[in-house]
Chain length 335, copies 3
């Protein structure tokens, strides 16, 4: 693909050699002929630029002097690179429904691809353009909308709904019973019924081996555009809004609400019935107590506190040794 | 099902309209005709009660005045609701052994249901009423007792024993080798042998993608009635007692003992060879050092301390800023 | 196997009855006829030694007096026991390629064993002596070298490379896309391309349900001899050196480097672009901030600090209550 086509696709200005043939994306340290790379910061010294197509920030230095490469100037190089990469990466061309796919009576499967050893239960619907990879197990009355990709060995329990253009990575489990028990007087736990479900919006991505439990009586829901990393636990009846990002190994207890546009670090723990308000940013390993309301802003530590407060507290902590010395000295003086 | 039948099943008093037909369970905010709901607290104002069956605490206010609904009065409404829910939820009616189930010679499989693409190794026994869902892989010489349900894509390694009426959620791995190595003088790690096994009692529930490692030379064991959430790690030779509850993402290192009736929060970390005594309650994200003995009571923080002590310490922490100011002032005065 | 053969294999001195027949390994508390056991510490009182083969440290007490057993004296009894155990544990004798294994055109599979419902994509190579267990899904252009064992229901994505004699436990996911997104001005996240791969060295062990993400543009790599426990998250472009040990539920964010011979505890969290230098030991539940460089030594806490410093700080913390009292008293005196 000619460099000038990429520039056009991005609606950006090209300088240098627009006829360069671009064959693959690469990181900047592997720059070379036919590579599409990007530069995020000013002042970077470029090497091996001959024959490459380089996405740079506006008014980048070498653009005017280096004629051996194609330079595409944009406001957000990383974003433009990610967008242009789609032109250069070949889509998954698998198609057809494998002979071994076990589609139960009443399943309506129009997916582009269903791999080997997949099963789809009664009454489930899988729309056009979906890719259901090998070994995926889909229960009864599941709805999966157009263009969604489910990687190998995932399990989707009965009655789960998944929107369009989602990606679910290998081993993820959607719709298992939540962890809710009632203790009898004899000390035995009996399960609280889990007849609810999971509703996942559009363009949601769910990481490998992540678990999203079904609601007990209502729904567990994940909003459009939300991205969840690997090994995350989403408890029953949790409500996650739109465009939320949740890093690996975070755990969200039952009925907690995470509003739109939040960013949640890795290994965060959230107690049940907490509310994380729109736009909040929670640092990794933070702990949110049950029922806590966390407002917009940056939060840190266990239990979470505003980052500024956390830092102040930490500074105080570091100061204890000196404080001790001061008190010791004072004591002497007073005596 | 008539409301009066539910009341009889619960051995409880019914007031109002016992002829109401109950068709499904629901949360209180979705109360309406044909719904079975429950109220936990006094003083709740009920809505849309007409035609519903409502489980309430003893002497609940509206019982005497509202004749449009059926009220069932019990001491523990949530428990009664969970018990009654079984009358209204249809059990999984799947049965038969799928043609694609691969049962090795010498496997004795009497399960009610074995799904597609399951494999069961030589010498394994699966008793009556078990439900083995699609894609479950069961090794050799495994014993699974009556009524146990194993959800899709679980792996049960060789020689594991699982009791009656257990539920194992999708993707769980029971009996992988523990994480035990011995380092040679050359710096290479060689594996310590893992010839032990896992023994799981009756009515145990194990969450999605949870891992229970086999014992090295002895057994990893989980007692009757214990409930383990998703993504939990149970290390080799761990002994967990009866009626223990362990929330998501908790990790238990090798040879640690958790006695009966403990409640363990989420994301707790336990070092090896620790002992958590019967009745202890461990707060989420707590850390227990190797070899530590944790007595009955409520524990918090890393390393764990009694909750009261943890709170006192935290209060002290918050007081450092003021302490600093006081010392500053004293200094001035003294000078 | 005669005790004297084991002694010869270990190149160690045998005292007592070298003709004892050893049939299985056991823990010391299950010592008895035909058992191979080991003793790590001096002063342990042995029981039921008659007919057993006992690996002991040099100059162990009972060796001279007890003629009913075979004693093998070595410098490192646990290591010798682990080495000798291999003589007594029967290797997995499964072999052949199951009829249901779905090998795509162009896959070159010479494995000793391929189980049921496995799939191997186009262009993938699986070398001699490999054991690929039931339900494993292997993508396209994967390379797996000789002697590697992959347990049930693992997913290996396209283009991953795995070295010789590795062990990958059930449910592990190797090569899923990393968690990298770029946010557009409209607030939507689009995926940063993940065209990189994962390269795993020789003798690496990866625990059950652990996830190793592929590099975005480059590689995620794991060096020879490294051992990773269950439920660990290895992010995109992470570089892990040789003979590193990582305990369960630890999470390593993108582009972080862990050099050779490090020991990482459980539930550790590492921010992105951190560097853990060769020989560092990181305590469980520690937190490493993004970009942090952690030198050789023992580290603890969040954010990590040298263990000695951590302890000092903790001691200070415990001293605050007393400090408060002292200040109070001083105030009185001054007044």
């Amino acid at each position: 693909m000619k460099a000038r086509v990429i520039a056009e696709y991005l609606g950006a200005v090209l300088k240098g050699d627009g006829d360069i043939n671009v064959v693959e994306i690469a990181s900047l340290d592997r720059c070379g002929p036919g590579k599409l790379v990007f530069v995020e910061k000013y002042g970077v010294e470029l090497e091996n630029t001959a024959g490459a197509c380089i996405i740079v920030p506006l008014n980048f230095e070498s653009v005017e002097t280096d004629q051996s490469a194609a330079f595409i100037s944009v406001r957000e190089p990383k974003y433009a690179f990610a967008a242009a990469a789609k032109l250069l990466t070949t889509p998954d061309e698998k198609e057809g429904i494998d002979d071994t796919a076990r589609l139960e009576i009443g399943a309506d499967v129009r997916a582009k691809f269903v791999g080997s050893y997949v099963s789809v239960g009664e009454g489930s619907t899988i729309a056009e353009d979906c890719m259901i990879h090998d070994g995926v197990k889909i229960g009864e009355n599941v709805r999966i909308s157009r263009g969604t990709v489910i990687h190998p060995n995932c399990t989707i329990y009965d009655r789960v709904t998944i929107g369009t253009d989602c990606v679910i990575h290998a081993g993820a489990v959607i719709g298992a019973d939540g962890f809710g028990y009632v203790r009898s007087e004899s000390g035995e736990y009996i399960q609280f019924p889990h007849v609810g479900t999971v509703v996942i919006g559009d363009r949601v991505e769910i990481g490998a081996n992540t678990c999203v439990d079904r609601g007990a009586l209502g729904e567990t829901s994940i909003g459009d555009g939300t991205k969840i990393d690997n090994l995350v636990q989403v408890g029953h009846n949790v409500k996650i809004g739109r465009n939320v990002v949740i890093a690996a190994q975070t755990g969200i207890s039952g009925s907690t609400v995470i509003e739109d546009n939040c960013i949640i670090g890795g290994q965060v723990g959230m107690g049940d019935h907490a509310v994380v308000k729109s736009g909040a940013i929670i640092g990794s390993q933070a702990g949110i107590l049950p029922g806590k309301i966390v407002r917009e802003g940056i939060w840190w530590g266990t239990p979470v506190q505003p980052l500024a407060e956390f830092k102040r507290q930490n500074a105080h902590l570091k100061g204890i040794a000196r404080l001790k010395d001061e008190v010791k000295e004072l004591k002497k003086k007073v005596q």
